[in-house]
Symmetry: C2
Subunit: 277 residues, 2 copies
Amino acid sequence: VKKWLVNGMPATSIDVADRGLHYGDGLFETVALREGRPRFLESHAERLSRGLHRLGISAAGVDAAMLEVEQLARSHTFGVAKIIITRGGGPRGYRPPAEEEPTRIVGADDAKPSPAEYYAQGIALRYCETQVSANAATAGLKTLNRIEQVLARAEWDDPSIVEGLMLNDRTEIVSGTMSNVFRISGSDLHTPPLVKSGIAGIMRAKVLEVAPSANLRVSEATIRPEELRQTDELFVTNSQIGIWPVRRIGELKTAVGPRTRELMQCLVALGVKECAR
Amino acid sequence: VKKWLVNGMPATSIDVADRGLHYGDGLFETVALREGRPRFLESHAERLSRGLHRLGISAAGVDAAMLEVEQLARSHTFGVAKIIITRGGGPRGYRPPAEEEPTRIVGADDAKPSPAEYYAQGIALRYCETQVSANAATAGLKTLNRIEQVLARAEWDDPSIVEGLMLNDRTEIVSGTMSNVFRISGSDLHTPPLVKSGIAGIMRAKVLEVAPSANLRVSEATIRPEELRQTDELFVTNSQIGIWPVRRIGELKTAVGPRTRELMQCLVALGVKECAR
């Protein structure tokens, strides 16, 4: 059962004047809940604090949000928590109010584990027509401005296609609609940089962290669709799923290979047990 | 006093799970209320319907929203109404739910007329560092994704600067943070195209409509900061203000000229009486 806390109190609604609704003026996190505990909670807290700082929103509520996530997590063996912090209410207009009172929203719910075959055989991807726009001011941030992802995800119904890749206006792959993307070529692990767009995923960071121990050289690099023909392995990540290997992208078949398997085992060691399936 | 209707019922809050909050998955309109009547309501309704269609959100609630605006308008001699239509609630994830129930939010409040000197002597503008991103999928739309405008408006405190111009990553002027921008050179009236970014402002459309009767040749054209040195007149528009002539942009002084005055008189004839001040 979905449960929400708004500024610490059980609630089902928020102020209709909240800037989160009017402008998407805030950030969110989705935290995996496993066996009654939030996973990588400290990483989420750090990212949220850094992001709020970049937006000029007080991060004073982050600690409380984390305690609330821990509290809500107890009733979930396999679930997901969502944290939203907005700039709060205020007078009409884009200008942030002089006296901000951020709104803290924390919710938790049970989640359905991904199908075992996603991990075992890999998933099929497509290319989305909806592009990701570029803006250094919000690059890397998980802001509440997600209409591009909504439009991209609305492009397909076919349940055999699990995720869509989004490109920027230079035809470079930025990310999946809800995941980061990685390619492996030889012993090089590449993922797109976050200078102009994309989200600095928590699982992305964990993969970059463990990659050297899997003898992979890590670097941020642009990835173009045509380069995927010369790619050995391809996978996507997010905090709820860990790693999903990719077996097909559009018409191009890709191998689910040993290096992705090794990275998945590294994540299992960090507590991402679904990658053991 | 601010008053809100949510799906037709007086309310102060919305569902915490609404996609408007989570993703900015919706559109808004701000309608000027003058002497108990909404101004250009039909134009707002048309723009809103077209925009919802582009986002794949049902426009079935637009008529009801317009009736609600008319109803709320009665208690305001000089005010502003805001309409928000979101894709509504639904399960977690970017994917739009199969059965959408859009949320309709309508609010009205008194407003303060702009200072008379804005119309008489013109306003001062600055250039914002925060860029506008480009995306054909949302160009022209007044979506709830407005974090770029929030960050741009947060850049300055100086009350003598009334508006900020935002550029795209090609250093072309897109718009003000809350206004469209026009330049006049000889008998040419230019405003930036909306192919990649910007909002299709209602007052922008009215100006384009009346310009030929003021003997101005209208065209959409990119405007670069350096071109403003060769510009005769410059002004900004939005639905609440009509036209504000520009007297200064950064260090560059611009003349508040006769052609802008003539356009202002044309708008007065359409009911934008504040332009007569």
